[in-house]
Symmetry: C2
Subunit: 197 residues, 2 copies
DNA sequence: GCCTACCAAGCAATTGCTTGTTTGGGATAC
DNA sequence: GTATCCCAAACAAGCAATTGCTTGGTAGGC
């Protein structure tokens, strides 16, 4: 069972497709674009994949599962709420670094894709994501680690946007590492969110 | 010269097109979509406009000119750097409220459009925008109104993203007014940016 | 000799846009 | 008053290009 090498070409094509989806959007990337980038003809893609849809599906699904596994591990740990929040933010920036295409696709095309039954799971995961983050924020407030007068829902959007929008300018291998960016972001953010002491 | 009513139908169609461009992106909106929403046939659009491109062009160009006029006025006023920054942020949130479609289109499609000669002005205006905002940030740092240890470029991105990304969730006529959101955003932000005293 | 990876050709649907024509209401001429 | 003209606004039909995807076949390594 030579699994490791059997999946190679397929994964290669997936990565190429992901990069293009991320750059120009799912709907604005043609199967011929993908094939050209891979050096083959568009019809040949269908030897590997059922459809263009199933390519994004696979990209987003596997990425999200990995990310949530990390989140769950952090939440289940015995750190303080604020420390958990810190870890979750760092894990998210690490995801932007390691899975740049997938994050960009999610940012740009999730709303559209979610209108199809096949991608209904995106909506559920989004809710789960929101519950997890707002939960941590509330716990941190209750623990006295964050200001008590915060509008948690608004802070959630603020935090979420600030983190994920970074995919639009952060480039893996650039001047700042993902964790350095995370450190600076958290510094700026916490000076406003942390209770004064 | 009944100018006021002569331009009405055209403006109506522009607004319809803008809304659709904002919702599903420029490239993913067909001229038939626009025509359907307007209750006419796609060919009839070409009585009013040269092309689909010229519709976005007109939408973005006029909007940006208005916005920059406001920015320039604020910058030219005799307020302190921090007060100017405050005003610029509020003006931006007001723009999200008053020109929701245009902001959304700019957020989503500017990068793509900017690859065409016709939309080269988007790149220039973007540079001008960055200079204006980073200039204000630097002045505020120099004036002692903001922390001196800030990475101004990073703060700029942070600020810019935080403001404009709001177009993805803010809905005119919703619970919070644009200025209320601006106030809360500034509060959260400044507690981290303002020099401690 | 089978299986992975691909090519070659093409189909039905959708795209932006063009062309020629029709409609209906207001200004103008008589 | 009414006949004439005009013109904005729309329709009807279709064209060339592009879209996702299908079908049937081929090359080459294990």
């Amino acid at each position: 069972m030579p699994e490791a090498s059997t999946t190679t070409r397929r994964d290669e094509l997936l990565a190429i497709a992901g990069k293009l989806f991320a750059e120009r959007g799912f709907r604005n990337t043609t199967v011929r674009d993908i094939a050209d980038a891979a050096g083959i003809l568009s019809g040949s893609l269908y030897h590997h994949f059922d459809s263009k849809e199933s390519m994004v599906d696979e990209l987003l699904d596997t990425f999200q599962q990995q990310l949530f596994d990390q989140y769950d591990e952090i939440v289940a740990s015995d750190r303080s709420p604020l420390e958990k929040l810190d870890a979750v933010v760092r894990a998210s920036f690490a995801a932007i670094d390691a899975h740049h295409s997938e994050v960009a696709i999610f940012q740009n095309d999730a709303d559209f894709l979610a209108t199809f039954d096949r991608f209904a799971y995106l909506i559920e995961r989004n809710k789960r994501f929101q519950k997890l983050w707002t939960g941590l924020l509330r716990e941190a407030v209750d623990a006295g680690e964050l200001r008590a007068d915060l509008d948690v829902e608004l802070v959630y959007r603020f935090l979420r946007d600030t983190v994920w929008v970074a995919v639009s300018w952060y480039r893996p291998g650039g001047e700042l590492s993902a964790d350095e960016v995370a450190t600076q972001y958290l510094s700026i953010l916490l000076e406003g969110i942390a209770s004064h002491g």
